[in-house]
Amino acid sequence: MEERWDLLEKIGAYAAGELEEAEARETERLLAEQEDHRRLAESYTRMLVLMSVTAQESPEAPEAMVNHVIRRAYVAAFLQQAETFVSGLGRSYIGAFVYYLGLRPREA
């Protein structure tokens, strides 16, 4: 069974034009020997054409989704800035309170 998968893959690589010269010649010999192998190569070619036609299509990302992603980023950026501001403000207040209570250690 493993040999059959290897053959399947080799013929696929041949159809995709990915084999080295020597391997390609060897595969052509296999194709010449058996009708089944030739049909397999043709099937691969058909599938690869199908894929290349599909590849030429470029579906566009839905506008609503793109806008949603961008909105999320703006909200995240705003929250990040707000957090930085509030924590900075909090630190300043605590510093001032500590100073007011005279709890700041004296410098030597």
């Binding site: 069974m1 493993e2 059959r4 998968w5 290897d6 053959l7 399947l8 893959e9 696929g12 690589a13 995709a16 990915e18 089944d36 192998h37 049909r39 397999l40 043709e42 099937s43 691969y44 058909r46 599938m47 690869l48 054409v49 199908l50 894929m51 290349s52 036609v53 599909t54 590849a55 030429q56 470029s58 579906p59 566009e60 990302a61 839905p62 989704m65 793109v66 949603h68 992603v69 961008i70 999320r72 980023a73 703006y74 995240a76 950026a77 705003f78 990040q80 800035q81």
Partner: protein, 196 residues
């Protein structure tokens, strides 16, 4: 990576949502296209949003060793691989006595010259793709649908080039078996018999 893109990335890394919005607008089609091909239409949008949330959170870890699009491909593929998905392991694909063959398409249904393809054939292709083992699917999408080189694929998937080639090769074979069986809409087999 262009100077402008590098600048946008740096600004976004500093928390500039405007710069990030530019990056989203420029690359949203890439992310959506890959997610669509990796997961199908029902899960693609959720995956895209997850990708951009990850990008926003981790853009300051982007070192610029690769292009931004390579990094983005990596984040997208990893997100898709982690997403809930129907997995058909290659081992469960049964290779029957006869080699798999695709029937010749009728002229009206398939016209490569005009690059048109019937909706049915496209759906069949996408459904079959969903059943290919995830890492093989990722490599297959990057190679045959995104048209990337094996070097780029190995960069994105963070595996050696030989491994990337092997995954594409196995993915291709599995796709052909699934398409030939025409059962891409359902879980196939469950029987062993494929190559481990």
């Amino acid at each position: 990576m262009s100077l402008r893109e590098r600048e946008l990335v740096l600004q976004a890394a500093r928390g500039d949502a405007g710069a990030f919005a530019h990056l989203v607008r420029e690359h949203s089609n890439l992310v959506y296209r890959v997610a669509l091909r990796m997961l199908g239409s029902s899960e693609a949008q959720d995956a895209c949003q997850e990708v951009w949330v990850k990008v926003w959170r981790s853009i300051n870890s982007f070192r610029g060793d690769s292009t931004f699009s390579t990094w983005l491909y990596r984040v997208t593929i990893n997100t898709c691989l982690n997403a809930r998905e129907r997995v058909l392991r290659r081992e469960s694909l049964e290779l029957r006595e006869e080699m798999p063959h695709l029937p010749e398409p009728s002229g009206s249904e398939f016209d490569p010259e005009a690059t048109t393809l019937s909706r049915e054939r496209k759906d069949e292709l996408v459904s079959a793709l969903q059943l290919v083992r995830p890492e093989h699917r990722a490599a297959l999408v990057l190679r045959h649908l995104e048209g990337l080189s094996y070097r780029e694929i190995s960069d994105i998937l963070e595996v050696p080039e030989g491994t990337a080639k092997g995954w594409v090769s196995r993915g291709r074979a599995a796709m052909l078996v699934l398409l030939a069986r025409g059962d891409a809409d359902g879980e196939a087999g469950g029987k062993t018999g494929g190559k481990p």
